[in-house]
């Protein structure tokens, strides 16, 4: 019982402890890192238990279901929680380096843990209103992290993030209210059973509204404007955590809604979702091709990669869901790795804009190799992790007869390769525009390389030994669809 809700309790307790140790930054740092490691251990223990026993369900407050607030830990939820714990640990280790670290503000650590608690709650909850509450917890912590620093650029980015995401959560709340009015339930299982008895003409607009709210959160076309406006104003460790968590909250909620609660999902909505996925993939990758600031390029790629996950979800099959889950795990890892390597490039070469830097291959060959690893993994070159995600998506599309979708997915892969090679050629291969440039001699980059190394190892493991993971995501999709893995 306690272990099942530990992904909420541990970060919330750590946030509280970090608030109590505000006056002593050194102690706060250690408490924060300790909390992140405890969360990692709990997530691993929870994963082991879910693998042994299947779905663990906890109804809080001793109320019988469907009235109690239920947390249901399944394979999808626990794998995302584990990813969140890993990213939080890497983020906090990164704070010890001097490569674009977040400003040492006393509220940084409580907000980071609060964000992870919000995301963990959203991954595990089985109650619609509770999902809204966790969305809001994550939103307010993200807003707090965005305004850190308080420069005009950050304030402006916060406003854009705030306006669009608030609209998304209000849409979600309205959908929750109307769904409760139509079915009388909020618990996912009870809601699904009641929805099957309700008229489809009533359910279609309500599920559509829910879907729109999640699409705003996932930064899909045409609701993605908040993402490229805000990500580049963040310091590197925070943007790595954001890219690993925020979009995934929306994606996880979408998978649960369409495959878990309301199967079979209404066909018009799935067609709409498929087109949104295609347009997200294309606009994201074309936006990235236009930009020269590394963070903006990577932020636009996040939109394009969200398109891949939406495509897999729009297939509305077990194979599609399995592909979406594998892709979400791969994307969290690799995109965070890319943002963090960009920060090390910035520390070495002095700028995020590709036109102002260069010559890093001769100066820092190790960094060039790590960046290339993440870049090729994002593109999906075999045998790296992205290949398996894209392979599952394209295969499921072709099996279900969606040749156009498969074709666009492959084309976008090619464009992704173009813009990853743009970064690599400009930052590493071409000579530095300033002839007198020398990489900084003294820098404290040990923790940064340590964090990158861990991410690279996990990405390599996903690439070279995908069998276990493939079985895991297939089981996750089966248990979502109500079967026993």
């Amino acid at each position: 019982m306690m272990l099942a809700i530990s992904p909420l309790l541990v970060p919330l307790a750590t946030a509280l402890l970090c608030t109590l140790t505000l006056s002593s930054p050194r102690l706060q740092r250690s408490v924060s890192l300790g909390g992140a490691l405890a969360l990692l251990v709990c997530a691993l223990a929870l994963l082991g238990r879910v693998l042994r026993l299947g779905i663990i369900s906890v109804a809080v407050g001793n109320w019988p279901l469907p009235f109690g607030i239920e947390f249901s830990v399944d394979r999808l939820g626990v794998s995302l929680v584990l990813m969140a714990a890993l990213m939080l640990t890497v983020t906090l280790v990164w704070q010890y380096s001097d490569a674009d670290a977040a400003p040492a503000s006393p509220v940084l650590h409580p907000l980071l843990h609060g964000l992870v608690a919000g995301a963990g709650g959203a991954f595990l909850t089985a109650d619609l209103f509770n999902l809204y509450v966790w969305f809001e917890v994550a939103l307010i912590c993200a807003l707090g992290l965005l305004v850190q620093g308080g420069a005009l650029r950050q304030l402006d980015a916060t406003l854009k993030y705030f306006a669009l995401n608030l609209f998304g959560t209000l849409l979600l709340l309205a959908a929750v209210a109307l769904l409760h009015a139509a079915t009388g339930h909020l618990n996912f299982t009870a809601l699904g059973e009641a929805a099957a008895r309700t008229d489809t003409a009533v359910m279609l607009p309500l599920i559509g509204m829910l879907l729109l709210a999640f699409l705003v959160k996932a930064a899909a076309f045409p609701f993605f404007a908040w993402l490229p406006a805000s990500y580049h104003a963040l310091p590197a460790p925070v943007v790595a955590l954001f890219s690993a968590l925020l979009g995934k909250i929306g994606i996880c909620a979408l998978i649960r809604t369409l495959s878990g609660i309301f199967p079979p999902a209404p066909a018009p909505l799935l067609t709409m979702l498929g087109w949104i996925a295609l347009l997200s993939m294309l606009t994201g990758v074309l936006g990235a091709a236009y930009h020269w600031d590394m963070r903006r390029i990577l932020a636009f790629h996040s939109i394009s990669q969200v398109g891949y996950m939406l495509l897999a979800i729009a297939l509305a099959s077990r194979a599609g869901d399995a592909a979406a889950i594998l892709f979400a795990l791969h994307h969290s890892l690799v995109k965070a790795g890319l943002f963090l390597s960009a920060a090390v490039i910035f520390r070495q070469a002095g700028h995020y804009d590709l036109r102002r830097i260069g010559g890093l291959y001769a100066a820092r060959p190790g960094l060039a190799a790590i960046f290339l690893l993440f870049a090729l993994a994002l593109v999906g070159i075999p045998p790296l992790s992205g290949f398996w995600g894209k392979y599952l998506i394209v295969r499921a599309s072709i099996v279900q007869g969606e040749y156009l979708w498969a074709g666009v997915a492959l084309l976008v892969g090619g464009l992704t390769f173009y813009s990853m090679m743009k970064i690599w050629l400009e930052a590493f291969w071409k000579p530095h525009p300033d002839r007198s440039w020398q990489p900084p001699a003294a820098s404290r980059l040990g923790p940064a390389y340590g964090g990158l190394g861990v991410l690279a190892l996990v990405a390599l493991w996903m690439g070279f030994f995908p069998e276990q993971l493939m079985v895991f995501v297939a089981d996750a999709a089966t248990s979502l669809h109500g079967g026993a893995p």
């Binding site: 307010i140 005009l152 916060t158 705030f162 209210a177 805000s230 580049h232 236009y290």
Partner: protein, 128 residues
């Protein structure tokens, strides 16, 4: 009664949308807050509007028929608290933003995303 509330809800959401689309930053945020209150009202009304009947299910019945359902009322309390906190945050943010930018025109707040100049390459930014 329900029709009066529905009409009020429509007016609040309409006014909120109108204000949220304004160029003035404060109007925009007040518009979002109004939409939030409209949605809260919607959540409140989903449990029926009866103030004089106690929400007790009789011995012979299995569902609540006439009285208001207390669950949406509990939910809306949570939603009100959250929207109030977000409103406070957004007002402080707006004041800080107007002070540092020297303008409350949303169209001119472009420091996070500069307007596109060249169609081929974006302008070079000085800050890293």
């Amino acid at each position: 009664m329900i029709w009066a509330v529905a009409l009020a809800l429509g007016i609040v959401i309409t006014a909120g949308t109108y204000l949220a689309l304004a160029r003035d930053l404060l109007r925009c945020l007040i518009g979002l807050a109004l939409i939030g209150n409209g949605v809260n009202l919607l959540l409140f009304t989903t449990g029926r509007l009866h103030s004089d009947v106690p929400p007790i299910i009789g011995a012979s019945a299995t569902t609540l028929v006439v009285a208001a359902n207390p669950l949406p009322q509990a939910l809306v309390l949570t939603a009100i608290v959250i929207s109030f906190a977000l409103l406070c945050f957004s007002l402080v943010l707006a004041v800080r933003l107007i002070q540092s930018a020297g303008s409350d025109d949303v169209e001119r707040l472009r420091s996070a995303e500069p307007p596109a100049g060249d169609a081929i390459k974006p302008a070079l930014e000085e800050a890293p």
